[in-house]
């Protein structure tokens, strides 16, 4: 191999130390697969492959024209496009819930449950700042960095009052019907 060729094929993984026979064997194998006309059609939306630094070998001329190989790529018929339904990633009120769940929660919301839920919401509001930051809290003692991280997390994960009511209704129902095995 000349020095130019060597430079040209610098980025190949083919070892420079392979004998000529072996190189020829590899080249012949390559020819067979390129003859089988495997074409990859990239859709416009996909990213352009980075080929700037790669030096692809020149494909050898096809052996026979007109012969359709069983390995030839045939594009799959375009599937039916997915509906343009928006994926729900958040729930703002009870109306966004699954209908069965909505029905069960609405059934539970009677005057007694509502009173208990409102009482809990008031307590949550009252103790919002110290419930998690007091020394004997469930999160233990916190450094200043951790307190800031906690504040940030609380701000990021705020939900509507209605969602809190739904949560508390479900939790109280769970406590009242707790299964003890």
């Amino acid at each position: 191999m000349s020095k130019d060729d060597k430079d040209k094929n610098k980025d190949f993984t083919v070892s420079e130390h392979l004998s000529n026979d072996k190189l020829k064997m590899i080249q012949d194998t390559y020819d067979i697969y390129s003859d089988e006309a495997i074409e990859v059609k990239r859709k416009a939306a996909e990213t352009k492959p980075v080929t700037d630094n790669l030096k692809t070998p020149e494909p050898s001329p096809p052996r026979k024209e007109g012969k359709k190989s069983k390995f030839a790529y045939e594009p799959i018929a375009e599937t039916k496009k997915a509906g343009s339904n928006k994926i729900i990633t958040d729930i703002e009120s009870i109306e966004n819930l699954n209908p069965d769940l909505q029905k069960n929660i609405k059934r539970l919301v009677n005057s007694v449950t509502k009173q208990e839920v409102n009482k809990l919401i008031d307590e949550i509001e009252k103790e919002k700042d110290k419930f998690l930051t007091k020394n004997n809290s469930i999160l233990g003692k916190m450094s200043n960095t951790e307190k800031m991280a906690l504040e940030r997390k609380m701000a990021e994960t705020e939900v509507s009052k209605e969602v809190t009511e739904v949560n508390l209704t479900a939790i109280l129902s769970g406590l009242n019907n707790l299964n003890i095995d």
Binding site: T89, A149, V159, L175, N179
Partner: protein, 231 residues
Amino acid sequence: MKQFKTVSIKKTIQTNIGKTKAEKFLKGIDFSDMAAMTENSTASSSVNIYQCALGKLLDGEMEKAINYIIYGLDLDRDSKLLFNLCKNMVFTLSKQVEGNVTELLKNTVNIKNTENLDKDRNIFRNKIKDLEKVVNIETAKLEKLETELFNSRPSFFSVNKLFIPYQFKKKRLKPQIKTIKASINTLTEEMEGYKSELRELEKHTKIEEYLKVLGLTLEICIFPTRFSTQV
């Protein structure tokens, strides 16, 4: 660039509370529930997991709800709904535990303090077993006496069973039967008392357990760096 791995809630809980105790909270989700929820739904998976968790809470299956919360938060650490549900549960359960301690000491006769509730629970279970044995023995005695009395009743066709001997027997056996019946009632009442206190105790310890797991989950979500060396 250094890659930071998300701390796995499942592994951290196993490390902190032990594999045996953690097992029941780390079973994951029931895919048939998810399939029912996702049918005709365009919600994201964390929203569906949240809805399934709410459904389990409404059914009284708190353990399963916790399974869903842990699975969902492991899947999507930024899920507001699941995080808030976890937070609300921690708050409600901690209030319940505070209230329960006072109620437990007030409503129960045999629990003097809440320092060693496991020990109290074992004592109650043993007492209930012993009482059940005694009640069974007394019931067998009662049946024997009642059968003896019934079989010695005179009838037109019986030659051996005479009226006067029967009356003597009845006079002897009836007070015994009455005493045994009273004893069985007392023992049954005592047993029911222990059973109801055991139920209260078990409810309290279950809630404490749930609070511990949910508190740990919350801590992992807010301060993952506290646990990054464990995983």
